[in-house]
Subunit: 471 residues, 2 copies
Amino acid sequence: MAKVKLTDLVLRDAHQSLFATRMVTDDMLPIAAKLDKVGYYALEAWGGATFDSAIRFLNEDPWDRLKKLHAALPNTPIMMLLRGQNLLGYRHYADDVVAKFVETAAKDGVGIFRIFDALNDPRNFKAATEAAKKTGKHVQAAISYATTPFHTIDKYVELAKQFADMGVDSLCIKDMAGLLKPFDAYDLVKAIKKAVDLPLEIHSHSTTGMSVSTLEKAAEAGADILDTVISSLSMGTSHSPTETMVEIFKGTEYDTGLDINLLLEIASYFREVRKHYKKFESSFLGADTRILVSQVPGGMLSNLESQLKEQGASDKIDDVLKEIAVVQKDFGYPPLVTPTSQIVGTQAVFNVLFGRYNKLTGESMDLLVGKYGKTPADKNSEVVKKALEALKMEKEITHRPADDIPNEYGKLEEETKKLLGTDTVSTEDVLTYAMFPKVAPDFFKNRSKGPVKFTAEDAAPAATPAAAAPA
Amino acid sequence: MAKVKLTDLVLRDAHQSLFATRMVTDDMLPIAAKLDKVGYYALEAWGGATFDSAIRFLNEDPWDRLKKLHAALPNTPIMMLLRGQNLLGYRHYADDVVAKFVETAAKDGVGIFRIFDALNDPRNFKAATEAAKKTGKHVQAAISYATTPFHTIDKYVELAKQFADMGVDSLCIKDMAGLLKPFDAYDLVKAIKKAVDLPLEIHSHSTTGMSVSTLEKAAEAGADILDTVISSLSMGTSHSPTETMVEIFKGTEYDTGLDINLLLEIASYFREVRKHYKKFESSFLGADTRILVSQVPGGMLSNLESQLKEQGASDKIDDVLKEIAVVQKDFGYPPLVTPTSQIVGTQAVFNVLFGRYNKLTGESMDLLVGKYGKTPADKNSEVVKKALEALKMEKEITHRPADDIPNEYGKLEEETKKLLGTDTVSTEDVLTYAMFPKVAPDFFKNRSKGPVKFTAEDAAPAATPAAAAPA
Ligand SMILES: [Co+2]
Ligand SMILES: [Co+2]
């Protein structure tokens, strides 16, 4: 009854977190039959940074990957991670593009849409959720987890209720940085399960070393689904090991019922595959516990350090860390995830170097006037005033940001036709162009050469791998 | 009241598990003042493989390290790991050597003697325990944890009572391989705490990825002290991160009360130190969950694989893994730790290659006739008979093995004098010679040159580091 289900993230978040999202489809397909036999709740295998990485680094068509995986996984739903109105790109899209994207993803193989937004603004979930519901597929709203004075359990419960009212099929607590502590997870899950009658999934990165305990306590509190990764791609900045959770729960009321021997075969396969990507791995020692105090994700910390170094102000790092707390409060307590982590971090650096809010970045202004959506808490009105003045705006945007974006699919289709020099283009190509208009042209040109291939011989460590942040 | 205490293993088990026990004293002393300020229950810093490594690889006097650490840690007890009647060597010593060793270690700085034995035979704890009690220092009996059909909770409780009756000051569950699952830890701790009124410490390696959860559940069940390692040397084959446990318990009834910022400074120090030893690190990916099924520790598995390869029988590994379960049962269910893991493993290989028990190894015979002590369960009498016949013995040894060893300290002292060419020798040198008679001569010769030094420039990976097993 209280049996726990597992979603394995090995085909998406694991390699995004461990080796810069570089895993190619050819390293996925040979193990697909076994993965499909496990009986996972789902396999997260698409979205996040995989789309970008496929066309930018792998010369691989992400839509092609989706179709192939779907064919190879007849019994297991494919989950994708979708950044609300941003889809997989880095700006807000018009609703017609959102609808087309979701519809096409559903047709090509996505079974579960996990939708999130850096500000947890339900309005940024709206178009994607409605489009996904229309396809008949499963829609999951993922709540970005942050630990700020604003983010009480009550606030999360309130959010959960709002998403439930939008008609989503399940909820997820998305803890990108390993901030969710076991006893807090217990209380949070208890409260949400009590308030909302929806399956609840827990996504908690292992960065700080507590994820296994967090998942265990979440299960005790009634979490329905846990996100794990097969052991050989687990831990570090990735996730709790699948087999470990299976063995922890074996014989208890949370027993997953999964076949440990089958899982060990899969672990063994990926132990070899991982060797192909050694040069993209960053060195990660033990656990990184700094974030538990600073609340600043590891990737953000390195960015800040190099920003300060460029300015010859390396000694100011402690001031900046303290200033981040101030900026996060003034900006309405956004969770520190992409893109808000960069916005808050850079503004904190500016505040320390040039005096508090003497210089606002363009992104800070946009966030302050509502262009990213509604921040969780109220913002500092003095700082908002500065942003409005700088942008020559009368007042904040209080409507859904995407309401200001006119439909654009037709225009994007025309541009794609021009780019490809053809009269007809596939919806997939239009959407690829829409996501990454600067990268798509080269990709379209080279696509026919086929994907790159990594082998164990590529294992020499590179200078600085362009690691994508865990998400 | 239920406040949890922490023992940090960074100066012993962490580097023994991660980089072949190579950390030199000069990398410990600069951080000693901060370590001493934390308020740890203890710092495990001596014994285990550190003694062997110091004289064999580091040209460093282990007694000298102990004295220096003791001087640098006035407020924190130094814990040492002692292998019962084996002390830190690889044979049973006479009681007078055991007494001298313990007395000298206490005088030079050990505050807590953690004593263990591969067979959990209380008679192998006797001499060391009595000697340690006589010094007035704290004596802890560590029970090696195994998961076999014999090892029920009742059996562990029985053992715990036996050790309590011997007058030890505290107990430890010593889980070398990461086999102790969270819910099992909960039940085990509850049962032991109910039966025995002694502080209980939990030592559980992170190898399988579940240690943080195991410690958390152990605390819920009433464990008094948890073994952790500062984050930058944590996880993998090492242990749960100290700061992570501190943060998990913060604000709960288990709150450790330790200063997280001080711990982060220590973590930062060891993050740099670890770089000095990169060439000794083995690559460890995520978590190794194989042992949860095979019960065979990772190091043992690699040994078996290379033994089979030498015999051109690499395809027999699955047969050997199955045979290990048979041999372990026939040999009276010894926990698979040094040296029993090697004995059982090699015998399983022999059984598969030459037929079951057609060929007994010398060590198997010794174990079967009682030369290592009493095995936890009854042995297969047919197999014991074979061993007795081969050794031309009438019956098994049922007394304490060390009863057969006449006092030997005087003889060892004379040999040491001869070796050093002096009329007087320090007790420390006699004991060093006693532990490693083959290594000591070279060490004595070169000692005056001083310890080796590792720097970050040594970071190129070596061919095959002589990694010591976690313990
Ligand atoms: Co993630
Ligand atoms: Co150990």
